[in-house]
Amino acid sequence: MARRENPEINAGSMADIAFLLLIFFLVTTTMNVDSGVSKKLSEKPPIDYVPPVIKEKNIFEVNINRNNELLVEGDRMEIKDLKEAAMAFIDNGGGTGNPDEDGTPGKACDYCKGERSDASSDHPNKAIVSVQSDRGTEYGTYIIVQNELLRAYNELRDRLSRERYGISFEELEESFKDAKKSADLKNRVEQLRRKVEDIKISYPQIISDAEPTS
């Protein structure tokens, strides 16, 4: 008789408890996505490598000293002005660009909106930004400078992309990535890839790190 009165444990709320646990774990799990400023290093030059002669006017010299102060093209500058100065230099378009791979001579930059002064860069694909820092420079400052220079390039790319294709460069790259993932329309992917390449070649990012002063 006593056996029959032993009631079953109500397991109805078990699901609620488990759900609560599940949601707790889902919420507290943080996916820390690593992000940062990407750079590609140049390959190690062979021992007998002779660096090509580059005209002074095609080099944009940025120096950072050990007190985190900036010297741009021989003048002191604040970090906030760096982007404008870099853009003016890259976008100058005073002469002709590098010849193509197939040997056709370089053309003048027809999409540049700079001053076309003789004293600044010839063409975006000839313009070299050279950053020289001291060994004692703070890493934070170094990254800010790199970031400002990248911003200058990205702004120019953005402008060109809007002009040619009507959307910002960021959106263009984004849609290219999406198209690649779905991969259903081959010629759309190809078309977008060509657009992205076109912008990238028009304003190539040439930022070099010079040997540090110590």
């Binding site: 996505v33 400023v37 590609k40 890493y139 934070g140 990254i143 970031n147 540090p212």
Partner: protein, 155 residues
């Protein structure tokens, strides 16, 4: 009439007894697949600089991380923000090539050019340390690097 009544009465409740099992299964799945960070920091958590022009690192398995910053144990490692941590201990820049090579062993050969080195350095570290690391990376042809930063505000 009797037929009609029978139908109404015989509608059974959905058995929810196995619902906890399903949910527990989900719970265990998430608990097992969540990976913890495998290196513990010997240096203090680096205060990353902020930047706006950033890219996400896509494939975690292809990323090797180098930390630069201040040691937690100043008596053992000395002071200053220029300590390099590889795996679980403080090292020098000379040990960077060996570190990269050991990471490469685990990766398929055709994926090696896609490997990225992420440098997580403190704001107050010196550029000299970073350049030392960079030269060593260039020696072993690990050319893709990423300076880890936080996302800053665009203006």
């Amino acid at each position: 009439m009797s037929k009609f009544r029978k139908k109404k009465k015989g509608m059974p409740a959905v058995n929810t007894a196995s619902l906890p099992d399903i949910v527990f299964m989900l719970l265990f799945f998430f608990m097992v697949t969540t990976t913890m960070r495998e290196t513990n920091l010997v240096i203090e958590n680096p205060r990353l600089p902020a930047a706006t022009e950033i890219k996400k690192l896509e494939d975690k398995s292809l990323v090797s991380t180098i930390y630069v910053g201040k040691s937690k144990d100043a008596n053992r490692d000395g002071v200053g923000f220029n300590k390099i941590q590889l795996n679980d201990k403080i090292s020098t820049a000379d040990q960077v090539p060996a570190f990269i090579l050991s990471k490469r062993e685990k990766i398929a050969e055709q994926l090696i050019p896609l490997m990225t080195t992420s440098i997580k350095a403190d704001k107050e570290s010196n550029v000299g340390t970073i350049i030392d690391i960079r030269l060593k990376l260039r020696d072993v042809n690990a050319l893709k690097i990423n300076y880890s930063t936080t996302a800053g505000k665009k203006n």
